[in-house]
Symmetry: C2
Subunit: 324 residues, 2 copies
C-alpha cells in the first residue's frame, strides 16, 4: 500500500515541470503554496466538490474524472472571464489504488497543461471518494462578468451546444437507449466537458458582455440566478437553443427539455448589448466556440419561455437542487 507521502510524490508532484510564467513561487510540499499574482489584478477563486454517486457514477473512468474535476472549476473561471493561475486538489480516497491514481492524475494534468494552470498544493486523506478542487485565476479590475450585471435590452447568448450531457446521462441511467454513434458523440459531453476559458476571457477583456455564468444545473435554473441578481427578466426562445448533435436526433419535446433544463452542460450563458453582436461572433470564431443568440433581457421580472413563433411555452422544468 502506498503511503500518503509516496502517493503525493508519485502522482501529484512533477519535479520536471518548470513554471515558465514564474507565478508559482512554491508548489506542492510545504504548509502553503506561494503564488505571485500580477500586481493590480484581481484574484478570482472558486471551489467545487465532486462526490461519488452524486456528481459521477461509481466506477467512473478515472482519466475522465480527473479531467472533469478540473473542468468544472475552470468553467467557473471562464464564466467570470478570468485567466487561470493554478489550483489546489483535496482528495478523499477509499484506498490508494495505483491504476485509479494514474488515470485520474493523467486526466487532471492533461487539462491543466492545456490551460497552463498548475497544481500548487492540496491534501489527501482516506474516506469516501470526494474530489475538491479550488481554482485561482486573475482578471483586470472592473472586467469580471458578474451575475448581477445584466441590463434590460441585452441579448441573451449561449456558447456551444446544450443537452448532449443530459442525453448521455439518460442513456447511462437507462431512461433511454442511444445507438453507438450517438453515445460516442454524447458521452464525452457528460464525462469530459470543455471549459470555455478562451471565450470567457475574450468577453471580459474586450468588455463585450455584461453578465455571465456557466450552465451546470440546467439553463433555466441557472439563468434564474442572473435574473434575480440583476433584478431583470428575460424572454428565452427555447427553439433557438443550440442542441447537441446527438440530441438533435431526438424528439422535439426531449430536445426542448434537455436544452432548457438538462444539466452538466458547462457552456456559458451571457448577456450583452446588441451593438456588440459582431464582436461577440468574432470572439466565438477566435476562441473556436460557437455562440448563439437565444433571447433578450427585459425590465419585467420573470423568465418567459417562447417557441420559434414567439408563442408562450409552458414547460415543466426545474434546476437541480442537491438537497431537494
Amino acid at each position: 500500500m502506498l503511503s500518503e507521502f509516496d502517493l503525493i510524490k508519485q502522482y501529484f508532484t512533477r519535479r520536471d515541470r518548470i513554471d515558465a510564467s514564474g507565478r508559482t513561487v512554491l508548489g506542492v510540499g510545504d504548509d502553503c503554496a506561494l503564488l505571485a499574482p500580477t500586481p493590480g489584478m484581481q484574484l478570482a477563486v472558486s471551489s467545487d466538490m465532486l462526490v461519488e454517486g452524486r456528481h459521477f457514477l461509481a466506477g467512473a473512468d478515472p482519466f475522465a474524472l480527473g479531467h472533469k474535476s478540473l473542468a468544472v472549476n475552470l468553467s467557473d473561471l471562464a464564466a467570470m472571464g478570468a485567466a487561470p493561475l493554478g489550483f489546489t486538489l483535496a482528495l478523499a480516497l477509499p484506498g490508494a489504488e495505483p491504476a485509479w491514481l494514474d488515470g485520474f492524475s493523467r486526466g487532471l494534468f492533461a487539462l491543466a497543461d492545456l490551460h497552463a494552470c498548475e497544481l500548487v498544493g492540496g491534501d489527501t486523506t482516506k474516506g469516501p471518494l470526494n474530489i475538491c478542487i479550488t481554482v485561482f485565476g486573475e482578471l483586470a479590475p472592473g472586467t469580471a462578468l458578474r451575475r448581477d450585471a445584466a441590463r434590460a435590452g441585452d441579448d441573451l447568448w449561449i456558447s456551444g451546444t446544450l443537452g448532449d450531457a443530459r442525453l448521455a446521462l439518460a442513456d447511462a441511467l437507462g431512461e433511454l437507449a442511444l445507438g453507438d454513434a450517438d453515445r460516442q458523440v454524447a458521452a464525452p459531453r457528460l464525462h469530459a466537458p470543455t471549459p470555455r476559458v478562451a471565450l470567457g476571457r475574450l468577453l471580459a477583456e474586450g468588455r463585450l458582455a455584461h453578465a455571465a455564468l456557466d450552465i451546470s444545473d440546467g439553463l433555466v435554473g441557472d439563468l434564474g440566478h442572473i435574473l434575480t441578481a440583476s433584478k431583470v427578466g428575460a424572454v428565452l426562445d427555447v427553439d433557438a437553443l443550440p442542441a447537441g448533435p446527438a440530441l438533435l436526433r431526438q424528439s422535439p419535446e426531449l430536445r426542448r427539455r434537455f436544452t432548457a433544463a438538462g444539466g452538466d452542460d458547462y457552456e456559458l450563458c451571457f448577456t450583452a448589448p446588441a451593438e456588440n453582436r459582431a464582436a461577440i461572433l468574432a470572439a466565438g470564431t477566435q476562441s473556436g466556440t460557437p455562440v448563439t443568440r437565444v433571447g433578450r433581457i427585459e425590465a419585467t421580472p420573470g423568465l418567459r419561455l417562447v417557441d420559434a413563433d414567439g408563442a408562450p411555452l409552458e414547460l415543466k422544468l426545474r434546476g437541480w437542487d442537491h438537497f431537494a
Copy 2:
C-alpha cells in the same frame, strides 16, 4: 427540507458584513469570488479536507467542528507566516440539518472574525460528511517560513504546549480515563485548536526564523519534513518539550510519547539562528504564545532524540499516515 440555495443564504451568507479592508470585491453567490490582493505581495494558499470518522468522530459538536475546520487551515498560514485574507468552504452533508448548520457556521465565523478572514465562496452538496476549506493569505516576497530553509546551527523551537490533544483523544477512545478537571483542560486542545497566526506573522515579518511548519501529525514525523527538505539533521531534547497541563500529570513515559508524537497539536515548530533568541521570546510575549527551545539543527542528517541529560533516547514513535 432546506434547499441548497436557502442553506447557503441562511447559514453562509452574511449580508450585514462589510469588508472594511476592501479586499473582498465580490463574495458568496457568483461563479467565483473576487479578491484584491495587496500589489506586490505573494499569495499563500492551503487546502485541508476533514472527513468524519477520520479527522473527527461521528456526532462531534458542530460548533467545535466549524472552529477546527478553519483552525487547521489558518494554522498552515501561520506556519508560513502569512496574514489571512479569506477562505472558501466546500461541504458535503448527508442532509441539511438546521441545528448542525447553525452550530457549524457559528463556530466557523467566530474564528474567521477573530482573524478578519472572510468566507468568500464555496460549494455545498449531498454526500458523506466532508469539510474542505481552502484558505488564502498574503506575505511579502522573501519572508515565507519555508520547510527547506533550516540551517545547521539553528535553534529548534516549539510554540505553546504539546500532547494534550492526543491525551484528549486517548480519553475519548477509552485508551485511558481522565478525571473531569483534566478532561476540561485537554478536550479543547483536540476540538478547538488555536492557530498561531500572530506568532507566525511576527516570525516572518521580523525575519526571525528560517524554517517552520505546523505540527499536525506528531512532532517527530513533522520535524522530519523540515530535515528532509532542508537536508539537515537535528538533536531533539524530548524532556524539554513543553507538555500541556493535563499531560503534565501523566507518567513521564506517556508525556514523552504524546509530546514527541501526539498529533493534532497545531503548534508551530520552527528553526532560527541563535542570535534571534531574545527577539523570538519577545515575539512570543507580544503574540501571547509561549515559545520553548527544544533542540538544534545539525549538518549530520537524521533526528537524534536525547533525554534531559543529553543521553540518546530510543522511542518507538511514528507520524500519522492516512494510508498506512
